[in-house]
Symmetry: C2
Subunit: 420 residues, 2 copies
């Protein structure tokens, strides 16, 4: 069905088909009285409303008058861990009592407690939880997520996690880019034997993931006490040889070597980067790797420090923003909230956070040529927000201003009737 | 109309009719299979579902099956500045560029820019803006707000602001406790003459406020560069003599003397308290003053420091949490967001934040005997949240889990059909 959104404050992010850095990372492509026409899942016309109105199909479908509201591409959330059972409320309480992430993990909380949860949950139950969670993402304006396994940590449970994501994707609402994060933590069975666990993953699990096409990317938690740079490299090289793209949890809690590894392997993204130094950033820039920042986890953990977004931007590295949605360190599915945190606490500009959540988010999941901008031929992932100034998306916080969400040209969420 | 909410995970906060401190500040009064029966705006039965079911009127009205969901009293947000025109997006951008609150104010931004906004807006337009904003509060589970004037700073504009609040209150949805905050900043006409401005307020504005019953409280921004402790005391004493209760913006940006002043005047609340020392806290405890903490503004300003909630709780001072909703330093109407910030960043417990947002919030607006708990005879302000563990209210962030909101026994917001 054809759909026209007109009378919009349109943010197109139109520009060269590449991750945006430098001045381009601040260009939202604003069209004040804009319109976008969708057909068969794609954008067929976009620009000033007068111009779009001349398209022969402009009035052949449903017309939505945005009433001057802000309209932009669906957010692409390039870093999530949505495949888990129960939320980690006990860890949350312990942290309020002053315990650190590392202390809680050492006491049996942390990632390992989610592992018990996933292992004890069926593929069907996990799928059902994912469908519920997907609705939360969509209603906040996110139309594509990268989604990692990594709370299974054995063959069956990792495969079960990726298959649950495949079922979610098959539902056709929220788009899912699956990532195999087998080396998310060392499972209890391999305590003290991280290298053996990596060898197991490479020999026993990765071949099935690749053969069944269960993941587009492989990822590793390259971190002190988890997987060192050598183990991480062994895993990612095997994944790349099996045809997967690679991404790295790098420099979050310690100087891990993850950023240099990401650059060496020309990874799609290096994620977190709290402790990245200038040499790391220069290497990422040269490699064309996107810095995927997840300040929501710093916020939730109550850390005074944030990822060094300004230093990363100044180094010319393209920045994507993501939720890091997960039960331990970032129980937040709402990209609008992450944008607000990024401005308030990392001093990114209202324009930079929007570029980071759309066009750069799309590049950070390998979909930069088809997602993340409003241009003819792109996917018709379009969201209308209940505000008339795009800065409001990162100004109001603790809110959801999305009123109508189109995924591939279909209305998948709506709280306001915009029909004319 | 009678309304029964049953099959609820009920938080009653039942207990002595006083602000809660010490161990009482952690007691949520949990009833796992609970119910609450409302009639004529009040709670007529509350407790275990089996017991409430025996009430003769239990099934005479509408029945809502909460399905095990968490149900608690409406939030009482004890500190808001909702009477403003446009949001301060320019200040927001400047701060992202690294400018401080004080620098922005010195350049004509800050409170004074909102003053130009209010002065140029009619009472009717302000009322319309307030009605829109009230809907946002209600849909997030807040049923009562304290609401300050303070962006008018001349006679007509302060009275206009308070009258707009009166119109909002007359609408009968969101309950409003109005506060006259004439001394919020020194207006341009009185630059360098704060004392003269206070004399003007006392002589020209306060008598009208009192005569027309436009405010229940008076408040002052006792802060370096705004009003010192002497000017603040002069204003608040005159307000008290005119029959108003008093509250104080105290120790936010500097050691202002506001906390000691609040204690001396036995103020209802001392608000912010970022810089309060142990002597201040001892004085507040002795005076029976509630500490009203607004960590959302620290968050939005990107400050690494938070109000010293644990030190205040340890001192035995009752703590209320509020949004500080305002266009300059906290554009957030959602108390759930403030609870999340309070746990993540001030290390309050999930129980403490709920007590602070309900029963202590009610005491912080002088309504402790009728609001803030689920007990027979109390106002039927009841909210159903889409979770089964009350810790989820402060765990997930950037969200709104409220699905059904009752104000005085009437459904004022609902996104989920709970009828049985």
């Amino acid at each position: 069905m054809k759909q026209l959104v007109t009378n919009a404050t349109l943010l197109t992010f139109a520009g060269p088909a590449e991750p945006r850095a430098g001045a381009a990372a601040r260009n939202v492509g604003l069209i004040r009285r804009g319109a976008v026409l969708m057909d068969e899942g794609k954008i067929v016309s976009v620009g000033p409303a007068d111009m779009v109105a001349k398209h022969p199909d402009a009035l052949k479908g449903r017309v939505h008058d945005a009433g001057g509201r802000v309209v932009l591409p669906g957010f692409v959330d390039a870093h999530t861990h949505p495949v888990f059972g129960a939320p980690r409320l006990k860890d949350f309480e312990l942290r309020a009592q002053g315990r650190t992430y590392q202390e809680i993990a050492a006491e049996g909380g942390g990632i390992v407690s989610s592992v018990h949860g996933v292992r004890g949950t069926t593929e069907k139950e996990l799928t059902s939880l994912l469908v519920d969670r997907a609705a939360r993402f969509l209603e906040c304006g996110t139309t594509t997520i990268e989604a990692k396994s990594g709370y299974g940590l054995d063959k069956d449970s990792e495969l079960k996690s990726l298959r649950a994501l495949k079922h979610l994707a098959a539902g056709g609402m929220l788009e899912v880019v699956p990532t195999f994060l087998g080396p998310h933590a060392v499972p209890p069975e391999y305590l003290g034997r991280a290298s053996d666990y990596v060898r197991f993953l490479v020999k026993e699990v990765l071949p099935v993931v690749a053969a069944e096409g269960l993941a587009k990317y492989a990822d590793v938690f390259c971190e002190q006490g988890y997987f060192d740079a050598y183990e991480s490299e062994a895993f990612l090289k095997a994944a790349a040889a099996a045809g997967l793209g690679v991404r790295v949890h790098a420099e979050q809690l310690s100087r891990s070597g993850g950023a240099q590894l990401a650059a060496k392997l020309k990874a799609c993204t290096a994620d977190h980067l709290d402790k990245a130094d200038d040499l790391d950033l220069a290497a990422l820039k040269d490699a064309g790797t996107v810095a995927c920042l997840v300040p929501g986890s710093n916020h939730f953990l109550g850390l005074a420090e944030m990822p060094p977004a300004r230093r990363i931007l100044d180094a010319g590295v393209p920045v994507a923003l993501a939720t890091d949605f997960n039960p331990g360190t970032c129980p937040c599915w709402n990209m609008q909230e992450i944008l607000a945190i990024a401005v308030s606490r990392m001093k990114m500009s209202p324009e930079e956070v929007l570029v980071a959540a759309t066009v750069n988010g799309a590049w950070a999941v390998g979909l930069g040529k088809t997602r993340g901008t409003l241009e003819v031929g792109r996917a018709a992932d379009v969201v209308v927000y209940d505000c008339t100034d795009y800065r409001e998306l990162s100004y109001w916080f603790g809110k959801n201003l999305a009123v109508t969400v189109f995924k591939a040209g279909k209305v998948v969420h709506s709280t306001l009737e915009l029909r004319t």
